[in-house]
């Protein structure tokens, strides 16, 4: 019992996680790792590619890239010389729902890097020459992607899976839309959506939370944007009408990529935990679970074959993916469909269930081994509105999940007649 108490206390919880919301509606989270000489940070603003205007797909992503090309105070060279000369990094990218920023620095440089982060987010200069440069670079990326079987299979999956939903579009946009984006488009996007409202920053490393929170408050409380708009709510995802199949031919490739998927639960609900255990049995545990055992270990059809359960505030997918020789594509699809059928026809065995429960509990401290792992967890707490004691409470939640619960959930989410099967590689 004592050991359990100690182990529980070793996990981050309400007595060790710092969380504070400020009057300008920013939120700061921190967890100490005082033996670390460095600090890792990650955060987001709640605006992403779903806010791209019609015909301007890729605007949120291009905006994220443009933010670090210069500010009102520092041009591109000055900015990156300051960041890199102290061995730090600041990266920005846009997802569907948010613009994400992350980086790391030595703890002595944290204040400087925080100031630069605010400058980058709040005072971008959008230099025309850098916009043209990035548009050209993206044009190259699009050409390379067109020959990438994994990327083409993923885009085909999203097209079929999301159809009319904004998630059907790649976050990067398209070659023909990205080249039409102007500095005026970027400025308008920034003016509408960028501000402190909804900004979240999480930090872990060698600075105690009170000190880092004080720095955050000092630097970010000055940011006020009363006219900041909030992102519109997402339309609902429409269930698949039937099984949908798309293959993208990519010539002269030795390997084809395959994705088979269905809808996943939203957020990190209790249902999500049941799906997580089920997913581990299906395509994660050991050498990629039942899928890995069937497709790779027994049949030798693929180097990689497994399943992933995406999580998000919007609709997301439960996917099985494999990389296979083009001659083996149909066999791999058959093997995977057999495993899905088994997954929804019979409950998982007690030993499988006990395996993945033990794994889930044992992996808790390991998932928090790095500063980056801790910060990702802090952001999940905030994004999905979870209790600060979520990890400490998880063992009790897991304990109650039964094989029947997994079967019920598997049947709710996997329907053999309503799957997307997407692939890319040699012509069929």
């Amino acid at each position: 019992m004592l050991e359990q108490t100690v182990a529980k206390k070793a996990l981050p919880g309400s007595d060790s996680i710092f969380r504070q919301q400020y009057p300008n509606q920013t939120t700061f989270l921190a967890y100490p790792n005082l033996t670390s000489p460095a600090v890792y940070f990650r955060g987001y603003l709640p605006v992403g590619s779903v806010s791209d205007p019609a015909g301007k797909n890729g605007l949120a992503n291009l905006n994220a890239a443009m933010l670090s090309t210069g500010t009102d105070k520092h041009n591109f060279r000055q900015l990156h010389e300051i960041i890199e000369s102290c061995g730090a990094s600041i990266s920005l990218s846009a997802g569907s729902l948010s613009t994400v920023f992350s980086g790391q620095c030595l703890k002595e440089d944290f204040s400087l890097i925080l100031e630069l982060l605010l400058e980058i987010l709040s005072q971008p200069a959008y230099p025309q020459n850098h916009l043209e440069r990035l548009q050209q670079q993206l044009a190259t990326v699009f050409r390379i992607q067109a020959q990438h079987t994994g990327e083409m299979a993923s885009q085909a999956f999203d097209r079929q899976f999301y159809r009319e939903h904004p998630y059907a579009h790649p976050e990067l946009g398209y070659a023909h839309t990205v080249k039409t984006i102007s500095t005026e488009d970027l400025r308008a996007f920034h003016q509408n959506f960028f501000g402190p409202k909804g900004l979240v920053l999480a930090v872990s490393g060698g600075i105690d939370p009170q000190t880092s929170a004080h720095l955050f408050d000092q630097i970010f409380s000055a940011w006020q944007v009363p006219e900041q708009e909030l992102q519109q709510e997402l339309p609902p995802w429409q269930p698949l009408p039937q099984q949908l199949r798309e293959h993208v031919p990519v010539a002269e490739k030795s390997q084809s990529d395959l994705i088979i998927g269905t809808i996943a639960p939203t957020g990190m609900s209790e249902e999500y935990q049941i799906c997580t255990l089920g997913n581990n049995i299906l395509g994660q545990f050991g050498m990629m679970g039942r899928i890995g055992e069937s497709v790779r270990e027994r049949s030798g059809l693929a180097y990689y074959a497994g399943s992933t359960l995406e999580v998000g505030l919007g609709p997301s997918a439960w996917k099985i993916a494999a990389g296979v020789n083009p001659d083996n594509l149909d066999r791999a699809i058959s093997k995977i469909l057999e495993e899905i059928k088994r997954f929804i026809q019979e409950p998982v065995s007690q030993s499988e269930l006990s395996d993945v429960k033990e794994q889930a509990l044992g992996s808790l401290p390991i998932s928090l081994e790095t500063n980056a792992g801790i910060v990702r967890y802090l952001l999940s707490l905030q994004r999905y509105n979870l209790s600060l004691d979520y990890l400490r409470e998880l063992p009790e939640v897991l304990k109650t999940i039964s094989a029947e619960d997994i079967l019920t959930i598997a049947r709710r989410y996997w329907d053999m007649d309503r799957l997307v099967i997407a692939s890319a590689g040699r012509e069929l």
């Binding site: 070793a10 460095a38 000369s85 030795s254 390997q255 050498m287 044992g362």
Partner: protein, 439 residues
Amino acid sequence: MVEYPILNNHKQDPKFYSLANGLRVALKQIQTAPIVSSWLWYGIGSRNEVPGKTGLSHWVEHMQFKGTKNFSGQEMENTIARTGGYTNAFTSPDWTAYFQTLPSSALETSLRFEADRMVNSLFDPEEVETERTVILSEREGNENDPQFLLGELVQQAAYQNHPYRNEVLGSKEDLINLSREDLYQHYRNYYQPNNAMVCLAGYFDENQAFDLIEKYFGSLPSFPITWSIPVEEEEITDAKTVELIGPEDANFIQIAWRSPKASDPDFFAYTLIESILSGPSSLNMFGSGGIGNRSSRLYRELIENQLAASVNGSLSASIDPGTYTLYITCRGDHSPEDVITKLNQVVDQLLTKPPSQNELDIALKQARANFAYSSDNITNQAFWMGYASSFADYSWFKDYVNRLQAVSVEDILRVSRKYFDPAHRVTGVYRSRNGASYA
């Protein structure tokens, strides 16, 4: 047990021992979380393979997950997975390593499995055949990437005979022809305590951990190893160009120069040259990413000047002289020749005058930061104990920042002139068959 004479005078330092059978042991206590990272390193990689038998080391690594006399492969995998830990293995030109990062309470499980598969792996003929298609599939996945195909050609041109010229995965031809006996002989010859090192980092009692290592590995016999040791190749013999034409709708360039072996004192100056030229390499194999390269000379000249879409460099610490390679993706509006011309100007500058002290100081600060990030997680700390020991000893890693700080701007110029001679490099170009327009 024999305690190594190095490094044991500092509380943060690992302790080093060796068993009577020659097995080396490194223990580093880190009491931040109840987890341990347990590694077993073997001094065998593609560097020790002979023509016609490429890919043996990597394939043997795969077979180590297929079961022993005592445990099936699935049993080993599932037992580790049940602890919540994770396990993996890597094969490099110089070494093969297996690791588990798992709760401290499961340390014994890790050591028991590793000791068992050091001597008891089955290499079941049916499993060998299944794995042949898996490895061919792994290679085919890599072949989808034009940079992999170009890299293979560049590496072959960078060495006349040394096995660093071969892809670790092996050639397709060899993978089709290797037999179960080839694999088993390779395993029996090189997988022995006197060619191995156990590295533990994390939360454990040092005496208990040592006793466990002695318990599982101490009785394993060591036999003389039949070595295939290559002759070092100090320089690329001349300026070579290799070309590839393919379906990608972009052009790529790779340029490789010889780099000193990691134990050569010049390696440290070379590391700073890399930082100045293409940005610093991360020391963190398992944590968050490293430092950007936007203030590096090549980024400024190639990317800011709108000649290329991306540029990155790669330098590894190796037993024998290796290669430092640049990877460049050209933009559609410039030919590879335009990019190479500009690149040559940047390299010429490196050969004609030393960098400013400020530029060197920035590279040093970046190295110090990278070193700090590398201690971010215990898996990476265990990795470095074994990795540094594969080409030198742990003091190489421990003194890394101090050795870099001793480098002067004159050293940079001297080492640049020694290694970046344009008459001794390989230039690889992948040209789009679709004919990118350079207008």
